[in-house]
Symmetry: C2
């Protein structure tokens, strides 16, 4: 039985719009916390405004995942270091007796949990619009901008879009995800008017999409492109110099586009609430890996002491560097991935077509027209120990067959990472952790870890399947 | 001890210019044969002029390899079929009692051997200049054009250039070689004035070189390029519509260019008279092949009944087709070659980096912008048995990892050639021979043939060394 888009959306709304009671509960909790923070502020004798911000303030949170954001707007005379000292202490005091985690985005803040509700207490400066000091200073302006523009209907559409983004895995501006923030979802709905209209527009997005709801750059797309070079540009209504979609990576944008098309073609609840991945049993895991015939190298290492955004930034940077290094050594990478539990275990995964390369490699020299380069090339290669055959002329250029230095991908990685891999572009903190705790596992050697770590097992199962979860339902179309 | 260019050339001239006695002997033999053919012509009651042509007529032959060309110029009223009947019989009669081989270029002719001297008796039409019927009709005009322009000095320079071309392996317009004809060597010397000047010019040749000694196209290079698309164009002085260098393949041109440079940098006799290749002993052969770490596949097959130019044309065409087929199946070819003794044994050689490819292959689909193509791609791959992982979006396009149909290069070749390989572009006569007599050998399996066939052993040794023989001496420069 296929459902219409309206039917599916109505099912989703039932699941994700808080009931009146739930709304009341969260708003009361938020207000109680705000007051507690305010009290702590007063006790600390600093002059700060305390406001509820984010999705709770705008009534756009998803009922299954309420996040309460409390902002401390401190005077601009306060030094930035106070964010990590006085402000953090105020936050700790206000949530005393609950689980607390010190976090760090651009600056420190406190995450705590009241029962299952996440509460972020974030310091920022109380500034005039446009005179931003810290990254969080815009948030109150976002709230003030949106609140009067939203109505009940738009808030429902926002919840649909957020839930959709979560379902397909593109929600979140943190570096780990590189996707769409809640604020960005709100701006998209504000601009297009509804979830369905947004998806229809997104399905048709072409390169270099620009949304400029407040017409800050009316008719001056060229200028926008000069200022912003991200794949998606959503000019922040409260700051024309900021791209509210700056965090969106090209791949996440592409995933949203193709998922939107697939959803519009066949609306299904699974886009919003994908089925949990059932991890492969161990024998199935071996079978699937063997059937691939490739070589999967797992580089595991232990704790990196850094906030998630720093950790993921360094993980991705290091992944790119190692990918480049392997490609320069002629290994054909099928896919690579990075995984982290953000605690004790980090992992690079490189899947290459073949573990070993042949000893001999064809090395292309200069075209015969370049006389001087040719002479140097011949001087370098004729009769050298590293020369296996040639040089000879082929396709208009000198070519020589030489001995390959590295033929085994595992040995190559082990050698390059022996001292942390800084020389091949591994980021500092990762390099340090690698030096102390590296372990390299190949193919089936991952079994023990797979069996003992459910989170990782899920990651690896999804990796091996290698397709967006919402694609499962598409197969039925045939 | 390094010698000057003049010293080396003087050594060569000593070896390659016939002595007066030798010249007298060849000219007398040629004249005797001409008269015999003339007699046979008269006995056959046809009206034909009989002339000595080629290098003997122009006194430009190499003393170690004299070729006597006798041309029968028959009236244009004679049907083309007569070349293979009456003319051939005349030729046979004239060389009765000597070894005779029926040959075929554009049309039939007779090759015979008087002692060790090769004699070609070639029919052609007696035409007016420009009214060419058969390909050989121009030859008498070439002789008539050049004879008055050559002097003793130029003839010495021509012999040097011919010997040089032979030495580096680019002499001969036959399809097997794809190099420079004797006539072309003569034109080059005529144009540049001497061997040294020719080499200096050649060393500096750039793309699309044009020589137009008679200024047929004076100042109209564009027009020349429109008419001729070969890498080297030498406008035939007796026929402005013909490129005397049409047979020269790009690789042979390149080889001449780089050899010229190397020779000018360090003149050595070896360029003219390279050392015979000493074939590897069997254990050395194994060692060299193992050290390469590649897979060499030898496809052998038996006699192809065709004149050499037809045989080589089909061999090269088939080699190209098979190369393309292997590349389409993702095998990385290091080099390929074809070898033939022009009698009982032919051989394709394909050296690939690795015998086996991984089971899984990454198949790139359409960019996400192409909506309809994306839909088709998904319909084709989601949930299919051939799909190993994905589809997923990567780098702005859909990608799927699929099962590879062919992972073993030997099995792939065996399968494609089972019925002759016509379906993958193998030429007709080759296909027929393959069907009846194919044998596939891999790496060391070639040992038996190597040991029993000195000609092939030399080919394989040179293949494995893979460099022009004149490069050996260059190593000393370091």
């Amino acid at each position: 039985m296929t459902k219409s888009l309206e039917e599916v959306c109505s099912d989703v709304l039932e699941k994700t719009v808080p009931t009146n009671n739930e709304r009341k509960h969260i708003l009361e909790l938020a207000e109680k916390l705000r007051r507690r923070v305010k009290t702590a502020v007063e006790e600390a004798r600093i002059e700060a405004e305390v406001r509820v911000e984010g999705s709770v303030a705008k009534d756009t949170w998803l009922k299954e995942e309420p996040d309460i954001d409390i902002f401390l707007q401190v005077p601009i005379t306060m030094p930035r270091t106070a964010f990590g000292t006085i402000c953090l202490e105020i936050a700790k005091k206000a949530t005393e007796g609950h689980k607390q985690v010190e976090r760090f985005a651009e600056h420190p803040y406190l995450e705590s949990f009241i029962d299952t509700t996440r509460v972020n207490i974030v310091p920022c400066y109380r500034v005039k619009k446009g005179e931003w000091i810290s990254a969080a200073d815009r948030t109150p302006f976002h709230t003030d901008y949106l609140k009067p523009l939203l109505n009940k209907s738009l808030r429902r559409e926002i919840r649909l879009l957020k839930r959709f983004m979560k379902g397909i895995g593109v929600y979140g501006a943190e570096i780990r995800v590189g996707g769409f923030s809640g604020y960005l979802c709100e701006l998209i709905i504000l601009h297009y008017g509804s979830f369905a209209k947004s998806l229809r527009s997104i399905a048709d997005w072409r390169e270099s999409r620009i949304i400029d709801h407040e017409d800050h750059f009316e008719g001056r797309d060229q200028e926008v492109r000069r200022i912003f070079d991200e794949p998606l540009v959503v000019v922040d209504p409260v700051d024309r110099g900021r791209n509210a979609a700056a965090a969106v990576r090209k791949e996440k944008l592409d995933e949203l586009i193709v998922a939107s098309r697939a959803f519009l073609a066949k609306p299904r609840l699974e886009f919003f609430y994908p089925q949990e991945t059932v991890t492969y049993a161990l024998d199935k895991l071996f079978h699937v890996m063997t059937a691939r015939g490739s070589t999967i190298v797992f580089i595991r290492f232990g704790r990196v002491r850094a906030p998630p955004d720093v950790l993921w930034g360094q993980l991705y940077k290091s992944l790119r560097s190692l990918r480049k290094m392997l490609q320069q050594h002629d290994f054909k990478i099928i896919r690579d991935q990075v995984w982290s539990d953000e605690r004790d275990l980090n992992m690079f995964v490189f899947e290459v077509e073949q573990r070993s390369l042949p000893f001999t490699k064809k090395h292309l020299g200069p075209p015969v027209e370049k006389m001087e380069e040719c002479e140097n090339f011949l001087r370098k290669h004729v009769g050298m120990a590293s020369t296996i055959a040639g040089p000879y002329v082929e396709g208009g250029r000198w070519v020589v067959e030489t001995k390959r230095r590295h033929t085994d991908v595992v040995k190559l990685l082990a050698e390059k990472l022996k001292r942390g891999g800084r020389g091949v572009g591994v980021a500092d903190l990762i390099s340090k952790a690698l030096t102390d705790t590296i372990g390299i596992l190949v193919n089936g050697e991952i079994a023990k870890l797979y069996s003992s770590n459910a989170e990782f097992a899920k990651f690896l199962t999804e990796y091996l399947k290698g397709k967006p979860r919402w694609l499962n339902g598409i197969a039925v179309q045939k």
